[in-house]
Structure formats: structure tokens, C-alpha cells
Amino acid sequence: MNYIWLIPLFPLIGFLLIALNFKRFKGSYAGIIASTTVFSSFVFSAIVFANVLITKQAYTIELFQWIHFNTLSVSFSFLLDQLSAMMLMIVTGVGFLIHVYSIGYMKGDLGFNRFFSYLNLFVFFMLMLVMGSNYLIMFIGWEGVGLCSYLLIGFWFKNHNFNNAAKKAFIMNRIGDLGFLMGIFMLFGRFGTLNYASIFEQSQLLSVGDTNITIITLLLFIGAMGKSAQIPLFTWLPDAMAGPTPVSALIHAATMVTAGVYMVARSNILYALSPFTLLVIAIIGIATALLAGAIAVFQTDIKKVLAYSTVSQLGFMFLALGVGTFSGAMFHLTTHAFFKALLFLAAGSVIHALHGEQDIRKMGGLRKKIPITFLVFFIGTLAISGIPPLSGFFSKDMILMNVFHSGMLLWVVALIIALLTSVYMFRLLFIVFWGQPSVHADSNIHPHESPKSMTIPMMILAVLSILGGLFGIPEVFGGNEAISNYLAPVFAKSTTLLIQNPHEVAANIELLLMIVPVVLIFAIIYALYYYFVKGKNMPPDELQKRGIFSKIAYNKFYLDEIYDFLFVKPGAWFSVFLQEVVELKIIDKFIGKVGQGVVWTGKTIRYVQTGNVGFYLFAMVISIILILLLNLF
């Protein structure tokens, strides 16, 4: 297992190669190099994964001491266990497919080489995040992926709207990162180390509800809110769609945004020790999922719908974490990586076919024009909506089942979230692929199917979206919940903490809980089909009047405006105030005037030097008398 440092090294080498030769590489050369490096990482990840699967052991490999003095010791070291091996497979696997797709998608772009260097750098940092064996190495990756996200969102840097979106993403992430950093400090203060192994070992001795642990976990969760786009730090993710679509697929759907979920799952023991934090996570997860789901239903930009859907799905994963089903969250993270990456790539293919059009009101009837894209998009929609036997069904079911243990009411809420998914997804599907061709019919745009380099990765992802559920077939269907068993060693201690007396649900109730959502989803699909396809309804234009809720949701609950009003504008005003009033009128006038004060004193005293000898003598005599007098007393 000594070769595992090669896994992050490959994309780093790819990045350096492309970055140093960005003027020399012509054609698709950079894309091929970038894909090759990620594929190499994938091969090694697969070996590692197989190794972990068979030996059921965790490996730690230390490279060198990073920050090491006094009592502080942080090393560059990697931890490979079931959890990180699984993440490695997702990052390098999905990452590789998206790299290949990008070769076709970015063809002819002036920044082609730059794009692939950033993409490789992203994979490097993501691998650091996943593989690190202590919180500080995770933080390297954590901030590093934020940087790459910034660079890629603002990839077309001539457009200042894109740049603003990039900046917003970075800054909102930084707000979360500050929380994360404070959490790290507190962890060090509490445990004297930042290594996962020793922290988790020490924390086994703690009792549930330890205040320190609650604060630590809350602080770390602030980091997760930023990275995984949860309320109140989620507004950057929809804006992040300014980046090229493969970026949205890789960074803003499959990998980076799930880092928060990974972090909580990684720290599962700490979180299990703090029921309060878990409650907070569940509430924020639910609120985010509902809010984002509601917004998604009213959006008209194909990528924005998918972006809000991502936010909503992430909220769903946090709900899973909140009710303590860490493996359920990781399962959904995996299947979501497949089908959401697929949906984004398919959306990219649609945009590609329509020469950059993203407004769904100007699409329609694309089913026949781009059949492969349609087919994979259809599969993705079925998978994300949770229709059996596609992957989304199983991962959602695992979460719903666990939520049911926590309470009936919570289950209903979770069900609503799941149903919302099918509402916005099938709405999207029907508007884009059914109905009348609206714009492209009468213009010169002739939709065309994407090249093979784009369609093949999509097909592979489609297959994964269909079969991904096999990892977690519940016992009712004769499965053995493979993923839960696989991850069991990582979550063992927290499972015993959280589930004192495991609930056993009768098989018939469990089946009922599965059937109810599916029946409802089919009802929704039928209603939407009736409304959009039969009724030929379209989302209203900008000028048309909307209903009150539709208007609020279409405008994203005015959150951007509220943040602008509460933070951005007062901040800017305060900055000007400090400059114009405090700096110039107060500090400069009083403290800054020391210099002028001395000059003034000098000027004034100068008048004493009159050049009149008589005056000097007089002053001398007076002074001597004064000194003598002073000495007397």
C-alpha cells in the first residue's frame, strides 16, 4: 500500500505539465494528458479499493512532517479505509468520465489548456481532502477545491457576471472555512492532536452530550454549510452555474459539494456524541431541501434547475446524517454522484446542441433530435426521482426507512422532499424533450447530437445510475445492504452510540413504506404529463404575471437581495465611512498630526532666535536666576 501517494500525484503532475506548457500544447493534447492522469489515479484507486474490500483493513501512510514543533505535530499523511476508498472511486471514476467528456465539450475554446490544468488541479485537491489522515490535510483539500471552483466558475473571465459568481462562491466558502478552522483549533485544544485516529480513539471515552464536542461539531458543520451549500450559505451554488457545464457536473454536483457530507461521515463518532448537533443538521438539511426544491420547481434555466436540485439533494443527505444513518447518506452521495453528473452532462449536451441556449422555454421537442442525450437524461430523471429499480430508489429508500425510525412526521417531511424531486425533474424533462420545438425550429440552429467523446461517458454514467442501487439492496428484496456492511467498520462505534435498541420494522410495513412514495411519484408524473405535454403549458415569460408563490420562488425567495441589503451594502458603506471619516477626519487629524506638530513647534520657537545679542543675554540671566531659585526650594 506504499504506492497510494501516487494517486494524488498523477493529477498534480498533469496539472504542472499542462500549466508549464500551456502555450505549446495544441489540439486536444492537454485534454488527453489530463484524462490519462486521472485514469491512472482511478486504476490505483481501484487497486486500493479492492485491497480494502478484501482485507477489511485501514492503512495510514505518512509522507513527511508538515508543521512540527513544540507540541504541535501535523504530518502529510493519508488514511485509506472503507470510507475514503469509496470516495476515491467516485472522485477518480466520475472525474475521469467528465475529463473525457470535456475534451469534446471544450473543443475549440481558447482556454482549452487552462481548463484542463484547473480540472487536474481540482482532482488533486479533492483527493487530498478525501485521503488526508488528519483535519489539516483535509483542510488543504477543502480550501484547494474552493480555489479551483473559483477559477473554474470564472473560467470565462471576460464576463464580469461570471467573475462575480466565482468571487461569491469563494467568499461564501471562506465564511464556512473560518468555522472549520475554529473547529480545528478547538479539536487541538481538546485532544492535543489533529489525527483522526487518535481523536476518534480518545473520544470513545467521552460521554454523550459533551459541551466541547457539541461546539466542535457545530463549528465543523459551519464549514460543511459553506462547502455543501446549506442554508444560509447556499446561494453561491446556483450562481456557480456560470462555469462550463462539465465543471458543474464534476465540482458542483458529484464531488466537491459533497465534501461536507464526507466530513460529517468521517467525524461520525464526534457527531454521534452530540445529539444536539445532529438535530441542527437534520433541521438545516430539511429546510434547505424544501427551500431549494421549491425554488427548483419554478426555475427556467436548465442548469439552475439542476443546481437547486443538487442543493436539495444535499439537504436530503444532511437529513440522513442528522438521523444518524451515515451509510445511508454515503449511499445517496454515491448514487447522486452518478445520476447528477449524468444529468449535468446531458444538460451540457443539450446546451451544446443548441449553441449555448440554457432557457428551457426556448427548448422543447428535442426528444427526436438528440436521441442519445434524451435517453440518458431520461434515465437520470428516473434515477433521481427514485423509481425502482434505478439507483436513486434504493438510496432514498434507505434514508426514508431510517427517517421513519426517528418519527412518522419526519418521514412525511422527507417524503415531501423526495416527491418535490420528481416534480421539478419531470417538469424539466417534459418541457425540454417533449412539446413543440420553439426557437430552434425557426432559426438557423439545427440541434445535433454530441460527439462520441461526450456521449460515451454519459452512457457509462447512465449504466451506473441504473445499477448503482445494487450496492444497497435491502433485505426485504433478499439483498444484504452491501454498502452498510462495507462501511460498518467506519461507523461501528457511532452506530452503537446512536442505536441502543434497533427497531425492527415488520416486512410488510417496510414494503408499504416503499410502495407509497412510488405510487405518489407516478401520480405526479401523470399530472405533469397532463399539464405540460397534453396541456401544452409553458413556464411564463419574464413579462407575464406570476402568482405570488411562483414569483417568490422564481426570485429565489429574494435571498440574494436580502443578503445584499443586510451585509454587502452596509459593509461597503462602513468601509467608505472608515476611510472618509475615521481615517481622514479623526486619525489623520489628531494622531497623524504629530509630524506637523513638531514642524509647528520648530517654526514657533524660531522666532526666539532674533539675532539680538541683548535679548540672548537677557534670556540667559533670567534662566540662571530661575535655576538658582529652583535649587533653593
Partner: protein, 486 residues
Amino acid sequence: MLTLLLIIIPLVFTIVLFALPDSKYVKSVALIGGIVEFVFSLYVLFQYQYGCHCVLNYHSQFFQQLGISFSLNIDGLSLLMILLTSFLSPLIIYSAFTKQSNKPPAFYALILLMETAFIGVFTATDVLWFYVFWDLALIPICFLTAVWGGKNKRVITVEFLIYTLVGSLLMLIAIIYLYTLTPGMHSFSFSSYYNLTLDYKTQVWVCLAFFMAFAIKVPLFPFHSWLPKTHTASPTQGSMFLAGIMLKMGIYGLLRFIIPLCPLALGSWTFYAVVLSVVGILYSSIIAIKQTELKRLIAFSSLGHMGLIAAGVFSLTFNGIEGGILQVISHGINVAGMFFCYDIIYRRTKTGTIASIGGIASKAPIFSVFFMIILLANIALPLTNGFVGEFLLLMGIFEYNAYLSAIAGLTIIFGAIYMLWMYQRIMYGETTEATQDFPEITLQESLVLTPLVIMIFWIGIYPKMFLHIAEPYVRDLLEVLTYKLK
């Protein structure tokens, strides 16, 4: 002897340069001077690491009757400061080589004189000599600004000079007062100062006098108003020296004098010092957000970073001081890079107003990469030098007071806000009139930037050597502190 040579080498080059007639060889002579000094400082590093520390000690009786001696020594702190100085100096000299304007010998002579003074400050172990070098460093920067500066250069120079001299004067008073307290034949040596046992009240006054001197130098809020002005008026090389090394003298002074001399006073006042520093961080970071001039923005950003360093040092924790020392080095490198990037832009566009620059990234992609790396180091991205320093600083402050640390930590958010805003404005978007034909950086310019970038990653990824050099110094300092507090 080695240490004495460290001072003599740049001094000799200074004299030679003053004597030389203006010719095309002048700049080469200056550069050779800088490089020789750097190579020699590497030898000193080698001696420190693997040889005997005794060779670094130099002592000669100077004015024995008054207890003055010319004595020099190098410990971990001094060594790092020397390395920073001798590393930056040749780069700063080289950065002045432009086709547009030839600088006369005096310009380079002053730069090397400044280097001499800095080395003197960082090696002197006699308080009076420390003071002499401390003020000697002021002279070259004043001439550089007054002669080769920009708008309002004379007025601003005078203001800067007097302002900092007021601080020095207070320090001089404290130095002389403490001298009168030294036992027997009075002495100016560091050790006799350290051995003094002062009562609480004396410590408070001494502490205040030193504090004022160093607070003006660092500078801490609200004694900072000279800094942005001086930066705006100063030529780039002056700014690089000023922000890169000279401000760090304030931190050096804090560590050398205030902490060992006035532990009792610090014990009760340190909270206010940390609060003042943290207020300064916020103040300068927020003010930086709305700056319209690139150079002022860099000046305020540097002010914020210096505040964080001061807060970390005042926290009196191991991590805080160690991080402070490391960040002094890192920030020196980063801020010199920032000012040089400014210079590159200014020389090409003849303007430093952010609003009138734009779209440089599409004209000069290599430059934009250099600038981005330096910027990222400035906003403390992991794997750059800025991160290791700020992480340790914030951690130190956290150990002292978690709330203050969280407030000080806002700097990583504000830093991202103003830096990215600035970068977006000047590098991204469409080109403007000023940047229409912005040439890519030259070989000479990239030769200045490359060593800086190498250092950014070296300290960011493998800071072992630097932490290792600083560690025994910090340990000793804290031991002295705890001993004196008992």
C-alpha cells in the same frame, strides 16, 4: 567575525557605489553586492545549523568607560530576519533594472546602506548600537522617497520621518533610563538589561515607551496613518523594503525588548494589546475593501497582516510567537511580491487606479499566474507560506482567547473579499485604454518573481527548517517569561 562581515559587506559596497561615477556598471556592482551578501548569509545559516554557534558571536570594546561595546550575535530569530533581508535585497535591487529609467549610483548605494542597517538591527546585542542601526535604517528610505518618490514626496517624507522619530525618541528615553538602572559600571549590553529586575510600575512605563516605538513601526492601529501615505509616495523599491523588512523591525523589537523586559506589565496589559491589534486587523481589512488605488490597497492589506502578527505575538503562546516569526518571513516575501506586481502594472500603464485597469489576464497570462500565486499566498491559501503562518497565529490567539481569534479570523474572509475584487477588476474583464497593449512580463521581471514564488511554496509545503530555527528561540523566550513571572 562572520557576523561582523555580514555588516561590512553591504557597507563596503555602499561606499564603493557612492564613490563610483554614474555608468552602466553601477547596477551590476549593486547586484553583485546583494548576491555576495546573500551567499554569505547562506554560509552563516550553514554554520548555525551544522557548525559552532561560537563563530557567530562578535565582541569588541568600544567605549568601555560608558559600558558601550560593539557586540553582535545571531540566534534563531536574528538568523531568520537576516535571511529575509539578504534574500529580498538582491531581488529588490534587480527589480529596479528597467530599460525606461536608469537609477544613479546613489540609489543603489542607499539600498545597500539600508541593508547594512537592517542587518545591524537584527544582530546587535548592545542596546545603544541597536538604536543606532534602528535610526540609521530611516535615513536611506527617507532619501529614496524624497528623491525618487511620487506626488507630495517631500511633505510625506518629512511627516514619516518625524512620526517615526517620535517613536524612536521614546525608546531612547527608555533605553537610557534602564541604562541608569544597570548595576555597577553601567552597561548597554542586552544581557545586563535582561538581568534587571524591575518593579511593576517601572515596567509599565518602560513597556509604554517601547510599545509606542514599536507600535508606530509595525504600525499598529491607530498609529498607522503614515504607512499608506509613505507607500503611495515611495518608489517601488522603497515600498518593498518598507513593507518587506522595515515594518518587521517593530515585531523584532517587541520580541527582543518588551516581552523579556516587562513581563509583569505585559501580564496585565497584553489583553488590551491583543484587542488593539485585532481592531487594527478589522479596521484595515474593511478599509481595504473600498480602496481605489492599487498601492493603497496593498498598503492596507499589509497593515492587516501586521496586526495579525502583533496579535499573535502578544498572545504570548508558543504557537502565536512561532507563527508570528514565520509569518514575518512569509509576509515579507509576499508583500514584496505584491509591490513588484504593482510596479509591473504601473510601469506599463502609468496608472495605479484600479478602475482604469482591466483585462490584463488576456494580454499577459504568465504575469497573471505569478500575480495569482502571490495573491493566494497573501490570502493564506493552504500550501502557500501565508497559510502556515496565519494558521499558527490564529491558533495561538485561539489558545489565548477563542473569541478574539474568531474575530481576528475574519481577516481570511475580508482578505478574500478585497484581494479577489482587486484581481477581478485589474486582471479580468475586457481590456481598457491603459491596458490595450499590455506586454507580457520580461525575463528580468520573471527572474525577480520566481524566487519569491519558490519561497511561497517552500515555506507552505515544507516549513520544517524555518520552524526548526525559530523553535529554540521561542522556547527560551517563554521560559524566561514564566521564570520572571514567578
